[in-house]
Amino acid sequence: MSSIARYRDTLRQWGLSDVPFRATPPEDPVRLSRVFYGRQRELDLALPALYEGRNVLVRGLWGVGKTAFILYLLHRLQQETAALDERMLILYVGRFPGETTEALYKALLLPLSGALADVEPEAQRVWDVLSGLQITHSRQLQVEGKVDLQLVSLGGSWERGQEKGWQLQNVYTVLLHLLDVAQQQYGRVILAVDDLDKKDPRAVRDLLEDATDLLRRGQGRRGFLLTGRFTSALQDVSGQMLGLFSEIIKLPRMSTNDLYHIAVNYLNTVRKRPSGDVTPLTPEVVAQIAEYAYHIPRQFNLISEKVMRRGAMEGVRQIEERAFSTLWRMVQDEFSLELTPEIRQLLYVARRSGGLSVDIDDAALEQLGVETFVELLPVLKSLEGDLLIRQEDGRLLPSALVPDEEEHGG
């Protein structure tokens, strides 16, 4: 039997059409709502604040589920506002190029001008100009009664296309004008900007300082929903000092029980008949994966996906603890092969040092070929998320997917 045939056959035996787990959540709010679980307390805080047009900051560790939370939150806001027969325009900007306020304003202008192009000539002009900047964007528009939800993610560079005369003057003035138009049209406007936490924190700090006027204006009719890492106690102080947010919502790691329900939800998306269990996994294995994932959903999904794929390839009937142990070792070995020697060395030192932080000793720094911790920051930033998992005390620990080379005898 071919590998693919065996893979398909195992999935069939498991009663699944596919391996459903993905590291990143579905962007489609409807699909997302099928797998989303928990965060009720945080939703209860954020929903009324946004409905009243207040600013909300969602913060948490990398991979803890900020994007999923925001998308689900906006979807709920759309549904519940529509149920009240009220009008609202909700804009969501995911990834966008640049780290300046102007880049942020342009990113906001793109969906805003798109939403108003039919009713405001200035919006049509802005839309034409921004479309000419070779900014790639994916766009989804959902209309729930009188409530529009627009989702965009942008790529490319704002600079490109300018030589052709595609320029937008007085970006901030134009943005304020169109926001006023939007408020006249919709009553309330909610602007969500995701992925700020994936940009340089210092640039984001400058960006937020520069955007203070925008964030303070229109409170009550215009709310901003932003994401930030703001993970450590130190960052809390500075974040709250900005004083721009009515609610600062910290998303904690998820409990084993929550992750179990997420696993059930994901599996149900590829089952013919929904079920309340995690077959072909077992509750014990899910608990084990939750622990390996440091209770971070992104890691949990990543590990679950890799283990299930490997299990399907190997024709495993049920991934109980013993089978999981074998599969886990295989997954770790495969994962390790993808790493460069330099990264492997860094992860090794991270594990031996009990995590990487500014308190790292000189000998460990010497092993990494640097004299200061600051020198490591760019590489740590690039590895944080999938390979290095940040702890609440600021330490970065290697993902459990990275095998302990000494234990593996490698």
């Binding site: 130190l234 308190d359 911790f373």
Partner: protein
């Protein structure tokens, strides 16, 4: 140690004269000159270490290669020639005592108060700089000052200022504008070292004018940098005119950077100017400009493994991030600064970094951590006889103990 020091100083002067300022490696030699003299300064003040010896060997090796390529003689040979010409090697009075680093005067507090006083503030860099406090260092010429304020490596009995005034007169008589500019620059440094910043500024201004008249952009940039630093010190010395001095220092250093960049000067030299300009912006409250310049300087110092400069840049950045409320970055940079100062055995740097960390811990509500840092800072300042800083740290310690005390309780 001082004999070796004098020999190297004389050899470096000789090498620089032979190279002349428009030589492509002139700036590079200046950079190594500074690193070597800083290394010797640390050794003189705190004793030799393996790291210090290794760094010195690396610098001398590089100087030997540069000299061999540029003038056909190794630096070691030039040092020997200089020695035989000046006869300085056996000059007992040229010894620089490692005990105090203070040339004259009884006040050992931070800050320059006496006209005859050169304060090392616990062994930061004393050469060619103005009353070194924390982060001052320059890439220009260096001056060796003996306990009696005579010139190290040269004949004893005349003051530093007198020595360079003589040099200036000689240059003017000979109609040598380049030598005149160099003498004016050194005279400026000598005045600055004595705390006479106004005279220093006058001399540096004249040095800049001389270099400009010669069309020597590299020299003009170096003199501008020294001028900028002297004005920066004036800003500290004259608080009522602080803003005006800082603005002028900023303009001056901006011109220096422009010239260095245009002349394609060595990156380390440019980094130093950026560092000083970053400090100006920091003091002016222009934090973004300060951050950008200091980060550029830090990267360059890190690349060149210029540890003393790197430590100071990290300290400055740590304090800057603290002011900007970027607390995570502040802690990382201050800890790294402390790490490097420890490696350099820089007692002053350790004390300043620990005080900054203590202050930081206090403001982030971690009094126990603050007390540990502040105690070490206090001990360092006390050893360095910086009683003004000791008093300031004592105030912080009192606050830290009060913060740790449970409500209604007493300090254990």
């Amino acid at each position: 140690m001082s004999d070796v020091f004098s020999q190297y100083q004389a050899g470096l002067q000789r090498l620089l004269i032979r190279l002349e300022q428009d030589h492509p490696t002139y700036t590079e030699v200046l950079v190594y000159q500074q690193r070597l003299l800083e290394n010797l300064a640390r050794t003189r003040l705190y004793g030799d270490t393996d790291a210090g010896r290794a760094e010195r060997a690396e610098i001398l090796d590089r100087l030997n290669r540069l000299a061999l390529e540029a003038v056909g003689q190794s630096f070691n040979v030039i040092v020997g020639t200089a020695l035989s010409k000046s006869g300085a090697a056996a000059h007992g009075k040229g010894d620089i005592d490692a005990k105090t680093g203070v040339a004259e005067g009884d006040d050992k507090e931070g800050g320059v108060t006496g006209i005859q006083r050169v304060d090392t503030e616990g062994g930061a860099l004393i050469f060619g700089d103005v009353a070194v406090s924390g982060g001052d260092f320059v890439g220009g010429d260096k001056i060796v000052i003996n306990d009696d304020d005579s010139v190290g490596g040269y004949r004893s009995g005349i003051t530093l200022v007198e020595h360079y005034q003589q040099e200036l007169e000689k240059a003017r008589k000979a109609g040598d504008r380049a030598a005149e500019g160099m003498a004016l620059d050194k005279l400026g440094s000598a005045c600055a070292a004595r705390g006479d910043f106004h005279r220093a500024v006058t001399h540096y201004d004249q040095a800049v004018a001389a270099a400009r008249a010669m069309g020597d952009r590299q020299a003009e940039a170096i003199y501008l940098q020294n001028l900028g630093l002297a004005i920066l010190r004036l800003a500290d010395a004259e608080p009522d005119q602080r803003q005006a001095h800082l603005s002028r220092a900023t303009d001056t250093l901006l011109r220096a950077i422009g010239l260095f960049d245009a002349a394609g000067a060595a990156s380390l030299l440019r980094a130093r100017t950026r560092y000083h300009l970053g400090r100006c912006y920091h003091q002016l409250g222009q934090w973004r400009e300060a951050t950008a310049l200091l980060e550029q300087a830090r990267e360059s110092f890190s690349y060149h493994k210029a540890r003393p400069e790197l430590a100071h840049a990290l300290l400055e950045l740590g304090q800057l991030y603290h002011q900007r409320q970027d607390l995570e970055s502040a802690r990382i940079y201050l800890k790294d600064a402390l790490r490097l100062f420890r490696r350099l055995n820089d007692a002053d740097g350790i004390a300043v970094a620990q005080e900054a960390l203590g202050n930081f811990a206090l403001q982030t509500n971690r009094p126990t951590e603050a007390i540990v840092s502040l105690r070490e800072a206090r001990q360092g300042y006390a050893t360095l006889q910086r009683s003004e800083r000791v008093r300031a740290v004592d105030d912080l310690l009192r606050i830290a103990h009060q913060a740790r005390r449970p409500a209604g309780g007493t300090t254990s």
